[in-house]
């Protein structure tokens, strides 16, 4: 099949295009280094403080008590913060890219709230244990996504309608959640509220490993979708004319994005802000067009680990990391609004 071959103007001045990938590579490398350093510092913090050198030594060889502390007590939490931060950020990047809107984040359009509803139903109505909580969060998160998707569906799904419907569903689910909490016994409601704040402090190896396994399965699937996702940024018609199966790709993005955030939420509770902000921060750092997935993942990892260190060690009383991220998220949203306002008026 011969295509249109266009005659090249001889001697045309051809300025080599500046390589935008270079900046992106530098950003990715910088973020990776930051993540590793922050992790080493975090592993040393606690009632039994260790320097970075001691932490490395404890990791690579058996140092007795220090190794036990680092690998058994602190490592799960640090790895969970890194992996969950990355998963949340990628989920956010997928949805924001899909909706072409920085507000089109899964925590804004109801999926975390839906997961919380599932947990509340499981704990306050059914009264089952931790496995039930994970299952409830997962199933309810997926159901919420399905409802939002179907309500927003009209000859295909448009980003903006998905956001508006999602915000509406979030509002309704909030009401349901409050009602469920009010009718529950005090101690049950208290336990449910702690989960609802979003915390990784109680996550040990036994909870972390299943979640890691799911994330390992999801990663190559997300990777395979990045091509169609990039074309979808150009609009549905352009993407379709480039051979992207628009609706099928969009559905795949929704499913993967929900699976990522539901995995995190089922294990740690709803953690706000990371999915919302990390992709936007990553885009500015990498100077890329569209939302960069790898840089977003690394940014999310760094942000969540930093927030957890802040919640655990810096603040006078240890708080759930979800509380810290909510506060950061509020500040970020305000900054976003101020910036928008400055640009328009």
């Amino acid at each position: 099949m011969t295509g249109v071959r266009v005659a090249t103007t001889p001697g045309a001045a051809r300025r080599p295009p500046a390589d935008p990938r270079r900046r992106s590579r530098v950003a990715v490398a910088g973020l990776a280094v930051a993540a590793v350093l922050l992790a080493l510092v975090a592993l040393g913090l606690g009632d039994y403080p260790l320097g970075v050198v001691d932490v490395v030594r404890a990791l690579v060889s058996d140092q007795g008590f220090a190794t036990t502390i680092v690998t058994e007590w602190r490592l799960p939490r640090v790895l969970v913060a890194l992996a969950f931060g990355a998963a949340l950020a990628v989920s956010g990047a997928l949805f924001q890219s899909l909706t072409r809107n920085p507000l089109g984040s899964p925590d804004v359009i109801g999926f975390s709230t839906g997961s919380y509803t599932g947990v509340l139903v499981v704990t306050t109505v059914l009264g089952t244990g931790t496995l039930g909580v994970s299952a409830g969060a997962l199933v309810a998160g997926l159901l919420t996504a399905l409802v939002v998707y179907l309500l927003a569906y009209r000859d295909g799904v448009q980003g903006f309608r998905l956001i508006v419907v999602g915000i509406g569903v979030t509002g309704m689910l909030h009401g349901v959640n409050v009602w469920l909490l009010l009718r529950a016994k005090t101690e049950v409601a208290l336990a449910a509220s702690i989960w609802g704040a979003g915390s990784i402090s109680l996550v040990g190896w036994s909870q972390a490993l299943p979640a890691f396994a799911v994330l390992v399965v999801l990663t190559p699937l997300v990777w395979a979708l990045r091509g169609p996702l990039r074309q979808l940024e150009l609009g549905d018609d352009a993407a379709g004319s480039h051979g992207v199966r628009v609706e099928a790709s969009r559905l795949a993005v929704v499913v993967l994005g929900v699976a990522l955030i539901a995995t995190v939420t089922a294990t740690a509770g709803p953690i706000a802000f990371v999915a919302l902000a990390a992709p936007q921060i990553a885009r500015r750092l990498a100077g890329s067009a569209g939302l960069p997935l790898v840089a977003s993942a690394l940014t999310g990892a760094v942000v969540l680990l930093a927030a957890d260190v802040l919640a655990q060690h810096v603040l006078p009383t240890a708080l759930p990391v979800g509380v810290v991220t909510v506060v950061l998220g509020g500040a970020y949203l305000l900054a976003l609004i101020v910036q928008e306002a400055r640009r328009r008026w």
């Binding site: 071959r5 090249t8 001045a13 295009p17 940024e233």
Partner: protein, 267 residues
């Protein structure tokens, strides 16, 4: 009658949700032609183009490309043969001209093979043909409307398809940029491309088309060489516009001159 042309719509019924736009519509795009589709608003010309681009699945009938129903071919295979300049396309924030044009190479890439020499050459050629090479490192947000449209054309050209569909390519441009773009299309056509454009301007259509298709109410009412098709009677019938048709003093093609209310009574 079986057409040997590469791309044709064969007795298609087209529409959206519950609204049917065209029924039993057939149209062959002659190979190597510059086909231009004209007609009043909502006559179904863009809908027809979307079905030729595989963006819209006909409720009945089929669009045939190289002898095969277009919906039975792999989507990327179609995209290597038929390109589209969409009516609305979005440039991701901060993307440079070079990056945007390179995205037109998507149908030639796969998961494991991202950028090849063939890709780079196609992108460079497309940018030369549309004269945007010097803008390669400039963010698309900073371009004027005319430049931006040339960049989108470059992206479609980078796709290296033998057939290119153009959905109202000149609508939002001033007259100089409209002509610049039409001349570009004429050059591409002269180099062997088959073009199908939906246009609003009858005089542009008459001057540049080798094959003119006139649509009304979802049906093709006339087609052929512009000199044979464009008559005062047809324009009045299709657009409801009283007019005079004279030969274009430069090109010799039909030139439509609307009478307007001030001159209708005087005639």
């Amino acid at each position: 009658m079986v057409s040997q042309d590469r791309l044709r719509a064969d007795r298609v019924t087209l529409g959206y949700e519950r609204k049917t736009v065209s029924t039993d519509l057939s149209l062959a795009v002659p190979d190597g032609s510059f086909t231009v589709v004209v007609g009043p608003n909502a006559c179904g010309k863009s809908t027809l183009l979307r079905s030729l681009a595989r963006l819209l699945r006909p409720a009945a009938g089929e669009v045939v490309l190289d002898g095969t129903s277009i919906h039975r071919m792999p989507t990327k295979e179609v995209a290597r043969r038929v390109g589209l300049l969409p009516q609305t396309a979005l440039a991701p924030e901060g993307i440079t001209v070079g990056e945007l044009v390179a995205r037109g190479r998507y149908p030639h890439q796969n998961l494991f093979r991202q950028q090849s020499d063939a890709d780079r050459r196609a992108v460079a050629d497309a940018m030369d043909a549309t004269r945007v090479t010097d803008l390669a490192a400039v963010p698309v947000d900073e371009l004027s409307g005319g430049q931006r449209q040339r960049v989108w054309v470059a992206m479609a050209l980078a796709q290296e398809t033998g057939i290119l569909l153009l959905d109202e390519p000149t609508t939002f441009l001033d007259i100089a940029h409209q002509i610049e773009l039409m001349d570009l299309f004429a050059r591409l056509h002269a180099q062997g491309a088959t073009l199908v454009a939906v246009l609003h301007d009858l005089n542009h259509a008459a001057r540049y088309a080798t094959h003119l298709v006139v649509m009304k109410d979802g049906a093709v009412v006339a087609r052929g060489r512009p000199a044979e098709v464009v008559t005062a009677e047809l324009v009045e019938e299709v657009f409801g516009l009283p007019c005079l048709v004279i030969p274009d003093p430069l090109a010799g093609t039909p030139l439509v001159i609307p009478r307007g209310s001030a001159h209708t009574a005087a005639d």
